[in-house]
Symmetry: C2
DNA sequence: ACAAAAGTGTTTCTCATACACCCATGT
DNA sequence: ACATGGGTGTATGAGAAACACTTTTGT
């Protein structure tokens, strides 16, 4: 970056390859237990026991990790992820993780709004599958992708409790019920038992501060019952609650 | 790790170098504002503006990141860090961070108990300095070490609030006052105004669960005032509070 | 004896949870 | 009409914060 305070006495011959892998999460309509889903790629190399892998690519010479991760989503899954929430998770680089060369993979997590799903696609020879987090085929994952998934799941579970990333998984406009359902799907189905009354009280602070804006309309009624008021999130992606949410 | 589901169609020529850098924190006696300190290496290459750097080394062929990080602490600062708390922070690998080659550095944070400081040392040509976090020379840091420090500081500040890592910075036996002071030094000096009464009530849960054990003795009296009861932490390093601490 | 630091117990107030009741929509 | 889901307001209980008072040390 700025100077050469280090490495002056060593060779600069490259010794490793850099890769990125992405754990993509989304929320889909359906039963709470299956709503939170992750994207896996089913490979065509059927001779091995590893049927599933995370989307990943090798990092190119002049490419940032962020750029490589978004390219992986494009190349491996056919998604245009240029405006998705993306954050670095951790780097996996055990000397033995790949037998052919030292490969360090910088794992990321990405959050896709379920209504972006219009584009679902099929990429030459591989197929893209959304799997509920509750039923991940842990034993059929390539490389150390199981460890990446475990860490990614923990990261998201923890982070929705004190930051505003949850809104990156919701559509632009949503009801309190949808917000509660999103929370329940990721953290704990028990949250579904919370009354809308208490939800509003908790999120009332955000409404006062203008982070949640009530759009002047009601949602489309679906099925029986009164449709809920619609809200729009207008705060910074990186924002946090003053206090951690109680559940 | 397990098979070859990927990379089958690309060359495996190494293109990058792997490094580790470590942000080492400790707590030292003294005024609250200067108690939380970080380790910086003052380099001898005085021609450049970057006077300070984090301890770091290149990762060797058969070395884990964890191993390389502990070696960096040994080689660059003369510490035996084999039993220190060490965790991966993030990987910094901008294509332009080093002009000579693509170097990806896996940053770590390490926590040193201040009473381990017996070993303080001097390594050939470089000098090890403990700098209060409040007075880091941001403009005199090599590479992207300023970014690493910023992230490291945020990580620790956040993590002491919901995990038990704070105890990794305290001596094996400590008083409630020392615990409060440690918290105050990292999070907010305001915490110093909390009464010991309220502290005990908050940590009372931990005492009941046996995570904090009251050693049957009082601390050495220093100066005026009654010495505090001594406690010992006996929980898992990775433990978390049921609820986030209120401050 | 007094100041300073630590321990114990009580009071107050905030806020999470629970509950009772009203509103809107589809069958 | 009634069942179902959403919204409003109130009551209850847990716990954080504040405070008054006692205990132990050094000067």
């Amino acid at each position: 970056m700025r100077d050469m305070t280090r490495l002056h006495d060593v060779t600069l011959t490259p010794t490793a390859l850099l890769a990125v892998d992405v754990v993509v999460f989304t929320l889909r309509p359906g039963p709470v237990e299956q709503s939170w889903q992750v994207l896996l790629i089913r490979g065509q190399e059927s001779e091995s026991s590893a049927q599933y892998a995370l989307p990943g690519v090798l990092v190119e010479e002049d490419e940032t990790f962020d750029g490589a991760a978004r390219r992986a989503l494009s190349v491996k899954a056919g998604f245009d992820a240029h405006d998705w929430y993306l954050e670095q998770l951790a780097t996996f680089g055990s000397p033995t993780r790949d037998t052919r060369a030292r490969v360090a993979s910088v794992a990321h997590i990405a959050l896709m709004r379920s209504d972006d799903l219009v584009q679902q696609s099929m990429v030459a020879g591989t197929s893209v599958e959304w799997i509920p987090v509750a039923s991940i085929p842990w034993d059929a994952l390539a490389f150390d992708h199981a460890a990446m998934l475990r860490e990614g799941i923990q990261r998201v579970k923890g982070k929705i409790r004190y930051t505003w990333v949850l809104f990156q998984l919701l559509p632009p406009v949503f009801t309190m019920s949808e917000l509660r359902a999103a929370y329940a799907a990721i953290r704990d189905p028990e949250v579904m038992h919370l009354s809308t009354s208490n939800m509003r009280k908790l999120f009332g602070r955000l409404i006062e501060r203008g982070v949640l804006v009530q759009v002047g309309e009601r949602a489309q009624a679906k099925g029986r019952g009164r449709p809920g008021d619609l809200f729009r999130f207008s705060g910074p992606v990186t924002g946090t609650w003053a206090r951690e949410l109680p559940w």
